[in-house]
């Protein structure tokens, strides 16, 4: 640990990146504590991937500065690369090779000798429950296996900072839980993790602090508790047996919960923002007492859409051109 363990793992000031006329990252200030998990939350095209690519030295900032583990990304990219690992949004493993060959490749590039590289690959394959598939081409792997291999490849030498770009997008719940477990173990081990996600639940489960980004800017930053306080603790979804009761149910819930009630596209469904879970239980009991039959109800966390709506007053609209597509186009045209 050189450059002082007290400096933040990531510190950016006015970080900006433009592709042609598009401001992909439009002045981002971040400070990420060492040993923590930091979540970048936002819809497609918000600038999450571009931010990660700037911090991983794949892109050069148009303006502003970024220091990673005390090193300036523009002036000392080599020093940054020695101590970070990147698990990209799109599989950053070679589909044509086997799982084992992928890890041996990375280990050799990081300077392990032949025998040592193979031993390290086998150790990681076993730890990530991939030993049975070690000799199979990655193209035959399931989404969850591919993700685990991708993360294992980032850990061949334990990085001080790991970038995980949408690590669970497209994974089934079981694989998602495995990835979360791995991230927690990593941080116990002292690694700092910067993850991007479209799911508030994921950021809430893992991250110590969360920055919500939209159109290349941070629109809110804080702990998950402070963010949720600004949005409401949760959302109550109710589905009625008879759509004809919906108006009565709306009035009743509005009175019980004191907030606006949203009528869903489903004619029998309503959604309410809930300031306090205890009142949600009371509200459900009240509908029963009033003779309104409820077939289904759930108390959930606000979705990204609801967070966005609360923070910006407009829904999270993914821009038509996905940010990575825009980045590719800018590079190739």
């Amino acid at each position: 640990m050189i450059a002082g363990a007290s400096t933040p793992a990531v510190e950016t000031v006015g970080l900006r990146k433009t592709f042609g006329a598009k401001h992909a990252v439009d002045g981002i200030d971040l400070s990420i504590r060492r040993g923590s998990i930091f979540g970048l939350l936002g819809p497609n095209g918000a600038g999450k991937t571009t931010t990660v690519r700037l911090l991983a030295t794949l892109l050069k900032p148009t303006a502003g500065t970024a220091r990673v583990l005390g090193h300036d990304v523009a002036r000392e990219p080599e020093a940054v690369r020695r101590r970070v690992s990147l698990t990209g949004q799109f599989a950053s493993v070679d589909e044509d090779l086997t799982g084992r060959e992928n890890l041996v490749l990375i280990a050799r590039l990081l300077g392990h000798g032949g025998r040592d590289a193979r031993a390290r690959a086998d150790e990681l394959l076993a730890a990530f429950d991939l030993d049975d598939a070690a000799a199979k081409q990655v193209r035959t792997y399931s989404g969850g296996m591919r993700r685990r291999l991708d993360i294992a490849a980032s850990l061949v030498t334990t990085p001080d900072l790991l970038f995980l770009d949408e690590p669970t997008t497209g994974l089934d719940p079981r694989s998602r839980n495995q990835v979360w477990e791995i991230v927690r173990l990593l941080v116990d081990n002292g690694t700092t993790v910067l993850l991007t996600t479209q799911y508030l639940e994921e950021a809430d489960q893992l991250a110590e602090r969360i920055a919500v980004i939209d159109h290349g800017r941070v629109i809110a930053e804080g702990t998950s508790a402070t963010l949720k306080a600004s949005v409401g603790t949760g959302v109550l979804h109710v589905r009625l047996a008879d759509p004809a009761d919906r108006e009565a149910a709306r009035a009743l819930l509005a009175a019980e919960l004191g907030g606006p009630i949203h009528l869903d596209a489903d004619p029998a469904a309503l959604t309410a923002t809930v300031p306090d879970p205890a009142r949600a239980a009371a509200a459900i009991a009240a509908t029963g007492a009033a003779g309104i039959r409820v077939t289904d109800f759930s108390l959930g966390q606000p979705s990204l859409d609801e967070v966005f709506f609360a923070l910006t007053g407009h829904p999270a609209e993914p821009s038509p051109d996905d940010e990575s597509a825009a980045a590719t186009a800018a590079g190739r045209s």
Partner: protein, 277 residues
């Protein structure tokens, strides 16, 4: 209970795998390039069919031209095969070098290049390593063409030494030439564009040459073109090495074009690869 125990074990295995340990110094330039070359060889191992795609056309040409036109062009099919085979070798290796560009184009658009570029190794080593691995591809496609030739009755007057010398010469030529196609690969969007543009360059170069027929019967202007055509110079040098009429001057002459291409397109490839994506 059982599940719970297993869960803890997985955690322990991951924890053990993450334990801090002395970390080696990242691979140096040469070792990184060789490692990427090894990756290219693994790809050939896992997808040998790619190699056959490239040699199918030359094999078809060898068979068709020998038996259809051989008698008319050279008096006998045997005599024509002796003339044609070195030309077909050149054609197949030169087309294989388009394939280098094509694979780079598909490869580079994948997420793995982001990982390579975020690693502490020389940033150009993935490209150079892939090109080094391609030399094996060139060698294998030469060997396939030789094998077909021998089956059809081809004989190399200079024996095994001549064959080895020709394969090395072709490897050098194709490695140099491939910088044109890696440049293309980094400029255009899709692999099929690389293929189309490659063919547009190579079809005239291989036909307006001495690959298939002796240029003596061509119009004077075309003879001038053939005399300067780098593919024709290579064919002459390769024929010489195989039938014993070769000379150092012919070999040197055939290597001028790939050297010029490397000097011009090598740096362009590097600059384009380093560009942000």
């Amino acid at each position: 209970m059982a599940i719970d125990t297993q869960r803890r074990d997985v955690g322990a295995a991951i924890r053990a795998a993450l334990k801090p340990r002395p970390q080696p110094k990242p691979a140096g330039t040469v070792s990184a390039v060789l490692t990427f070359g090894w990756r290219a060889l693994l790809k050939i191992k896992h997808m040998p069919e790619q190699l056959f795609d490239v040699v199918v056309t030359p094999i078809m040409f060898t068979v068709l031209f020998t038996y259809l036109f051989g008698g008319a062009l050279a008096g006998s099919t045997d005599a024509y095969l002796q003339y044609l085979l070195p030309g077909i070798l050149v054609q197949s290796v030169v087309f294989t070098s388009v394939y280098s560009g094509l694979t780079l184009n598909t490869d580079i658009s994948k997420g793995i290049y982001d990982r390579f570029r975020s690693m502490p190794v020389w940033s150009l080593s993935p490209v150079l390593g892939t090109m080094a691995g391609d030399v094996v591809r060139y060698t294998v496609s030469s060997l396939i063409v030789f094998a077909i030739g021998f089956l059809m009755g081809y004989e190399a007057a200079t024996g095994i030494l001549g064959i080895v010398a020709v394969i090395l010469l072709l490897d050098l030529f194709a490695a140099g030439l491939s910088f044109i196609f890696t440049t293309l690969a980094l400029l255009v969007r899709t692999p099929s564009t690389v293929m189309t543009l490659g063919w547009m360059v190579l079809m005239p170069l291989t036909f307006a040459s001495n690959v298939f027929v002796d240029p003596a019967t061509m119009p004077a202007w075309l003879q001038t073109v053939v005399a300067w055509n780098p593919v024709a110079l290579l064919v002459t040098a390769a024929r010489g090495l195989l039938d014993g009429t070769g000379s150092a001057a012919l070999v040197a002459g055939s290597l001028v074009a790939p050297l010029v291409v490397t000097a011009v397109f090598g740096p362009v490839t590097m600059a384009l690869y380093r560009r942000e994506r």
